[in-house]
């Protein structure tokens, strides 16, 4: 009892922080039910006077959101799975194997993270066009399958697995690949789930890349659809927030399912 009382200031702080974090979500969801007038009213209201479900129908019909959803889901899943596979292989080599130039190569790779993405946009566009991938799913997926951040994240995690495990597996005649698949991967589940989520969310939210690499409506994804509601002299907040709400649902669902693993993954790799 006393213990809990002592902790109460901590809970109070945590609660305040939680409220701050949740506020944008709360605002988004409540605004998505307001009338256009109320969404723009001044001073703003917190709770809608009446629920306007129609916003969702209007927002959904404003652009081909069904197609956008399927595209986002497909591209994000493919990118995340591919990203995890390549990162596991590369990270294992960097964490557990010895070869000439290992450190130089690793720092070179990490160094590429410093190059701002915007700078690479034009060269990347040229590459995609030359490959004849413009306006295809390959253009949206393949360039994002290899990913330095993932290699870095998993390397940190793999290094916490004791080398003795490999030594004894080797004595029993285990191959490197089998060791990776049967020992390292199961032991690293939290890190893999974390990486999967990072990659999935990154791909789910990608806007500029999709816009630049496609022009057909059928190739575009959810964030491009959200742009539809932002005008030059104002924004249709009641529709934008409705669309944003249905666009973030899958991510929230995914996070709830994988929450435990995700938190472990972040905590154990020392990433903040």
């Amino acid at each position: 009892m006393l213990q809990e009382l002592k902790r109460s200031p901590l809970y109070l702080i945590l609660f305040a922080v939680m409220a701050i974090m949740l506020l944008p979500f709360f605002w988004t969801v409540t605004t998505s039910f307001k009338t256009p007038q109320e969404a723009q009213s001044y001073p703003p209201t917190w709770i809608p006077k009446q629920l306007r479900w129609q916003n969702y129908i209007e927002a959904w019909n404003a652009a081909p959101f069904g197609r956008y959803f399927l595209n986002s889901l497909f591209v994000a899943t493919a990118t995340a799975i591919g990203g995890v596979i390549t990162s596991v292989l590369a990270a294992y080599a960097f964490a557990k194997m010895n070869f000439i130039g290992k450190n130089v190569l690793f720092y070179l790779l990490v160094g590429t993270m410093m190059i701002p993405g915007q700078m690479l946009l034009v060269p990347n566009y040229l590459t995609i066009v030359k490959l004849r991938w413009y306006d295809t799913y390959q253009a949206l997926i393949v360039p994002w399958v290899a990913n330095v951040f993932g290699i870095f994240l998993l390397r940190q995690f793999f290094r916490t697995i004791p080398d003795e495990l490999w030594d004894s597996a080797q004595i029993d005649g285990c191959s490197r690949f089998r060791f990776l698949w049967q020992f390292v991967v199961p032991l690293s589940k939290p890190a893999l789930v974390t990486l999967f989520l990072f990659r999935f969310i990154g791909s789910w939210n990608a806007f500029l890349w999709v816009l630049i690499m496609t022009s057909r409506e059928e190739m575009r994804t959810l964030p491009v659809g959200l742009y539809y509601f932002i005008g030059e002299a104002g924004t249709d907040y009641h529709l934008l927030t409705a669309a944003a709400t249905f666009a973030m649902m899958p991510i929230i669902f995914l996070f709830l399912v994988a929450q435990r693993q995700f938190i472990q993954g972040v905590a154990r790799t020392g990433l903040k």
Binding site: Q40, Y42, F229
Partner: protein, 403 residues
């Protein structure tokens, strides 16, 4: 629904006639109602020209559009036509666009306000044509203001009189004016006071001048009775919190929505400064790529542009989007007069459309505009005096962008 069926049928019909067709892509940044209007006008054009297919490709916002255009031009795969801000053309597309000088009939060119067309000339060549243009306009609450102010002095006086602080706590319950700090809030009064941005040879920045000081002092005086905020002013105006404000005509639909059932309002031409009551012309122009397009595509694009400029399409565009009509013959037509009778807020918009100015066609204008915006904010927040701020802006602009 009916409109959609017509479009689908039109597309099918065109599909049947697909032999010998030319396809052109038009990259744009239009969304929402603006896009719907563009789609309808384009469908009409294709109906009349079954041998041409215009593919409208949205490329997000303007910044995204420019990024993509740069990449596409570098890859030698630009669209047939696109929307451009003048400074984009000056920076990157001067040699990639098709000169339109001899292709647009003189009777159309002379029908467009000269100042508006000026910004479409680069090194003496006409490379673009005005497309979605807007100006600033005065919004005023007709429940509070019977006659809108016509000069700076009247505006300041009225704003003062309309500011109400009944409980005397220093924060007015109602403000006479609303002020949002962005570059055009300075450049427009600067121009109205006779200001010019650069010397003829574009090596000197001329903000620190009589007109510059006059504009800033005018805004400072106005600020004393203003709600000052960085967000759009349509909401506080619609709820009666501010009695007047100056903003883009593109804000009209938002004002209408915010004010519905709360306040009555109208628009007026901008109050006159020491020299004139011109507004900045905002918005983009359209041009045709000469780079890697076929003669047939260029010809089709030109046909499409001429259609957009036709009185019929031009008026449909202005009505559907709220952008300014800029052909003299269109606004003097019976159709437009009938439209204004039904939409009183468009009367002042139509008049203001012929009193405007444009920025110099400098490739770095976007960044220069940013410096002007920072300068204005520094003055309005009291961080710098008008003299200091104007000198700082001149120095920064000259050092970073003109030398």
């Amino acid at each position: 629904m009916y409109k959609k069926v017509v479009i689908v049928l039109a597309v099918l019909f065109i599909g049947v006639l697909a032999i010998g067709q030319v396809e052109i892509e038009f990259w744009h940044a239009m969304r929402g109602g603006h896009l719907e209007t563009l789609e309808a006008i384009t469908a009409q054009f294709m109906e009349k020209n079954p041998d041409i297919v215009v593919k409208l490709v949205g490329q997000g916002g303007y910044g995204d559009l420019n990024t993509k255009l740069i990449a596409a031009a570098a890859a030698m795969q630009p669209p047939t036509m696109a929307q451009f801000y003048a400074d984009w053309v000056a920076a990157a597309y001067k040699d990639a666009l098709m000169p339109l000088d001899d292709l647009i009939p003189e009777e159309i060119l002379s029908d467009i306000p000269e100042k508006l067309l000026q910004a479409c000339y680069f090194d003496g060549k006409l490379l673009t044509i005005p497309f979605n243009k807007s100006t600033l306009i005065l919004f005023y609450n007709t429940d509070l203001v019977s006659e809108p102010p016509t000069t700076w002095e009247e505006l300041i006086e009225m704003a003062k009189a309309l500011t109400v602080d009944e409980d005397g706590d220093g924060t007015p319950e109602r403000y006479g004016f609303g002020l949002r700090p962005y570059a055009e809030m300075f450049t427009t009064p600067f121009w109205q006071a006779g200001g010019r941005f650069f010397s003829e040879d574009m090596t000197e920045s001329l903000l620190y001048s009589e007109p510059g000081l006059a504009a800033l002092n005018f805004l400072l005086e106005l600020k004393a009775t203003s709600l000052y905020q960085t967000g759009y002013l349509s909401s506080p105006f619609g709820s009666g919190k501010i009695a007047m404000y100056i903003g883009s005509v593109a804000g009209i639909p938002y004002v209408a929505r915010a004010a519905e059932g709360k306040v009555n309002w109208n628009t007026a031409v901008l109050p006159k400064g020491p020299v004139n009551n011109d507004s900045i012309y905002m918005g983009t122009d359209i041009g045709i790529f000469a780079l890697n397009t076929t003669p047939e595509q260029r010809e089709a694009a030109l046909k499409y542009i001429l259609y957009l400029l036709s009185p019929e399409a031009h008026m449909a565009w202005a009505k559907g989007t709220g952008y300014i009509p800029f052909r003299k013959s269109a606004i003097t037509s019976a159709e437009w007069k009938a439209y204004m009778a039904e939409h009183p807020e468009r009367v002042a918009v139509t008049e203001q459309a012929f009193h405007g100015f444009t920025y110099p066609n400098h490739p770095q204008w976007y960044s220069i505009r940013g410096v002007i915006g920072d300068m204005l904010e520094a003055v309005l927040l009291g961080d710098m005096t008008p003299e200091e701020a104007l000198q700082w802006a001149d120095e920064t602009i000259e050092e970073e962008y003109l030398k």
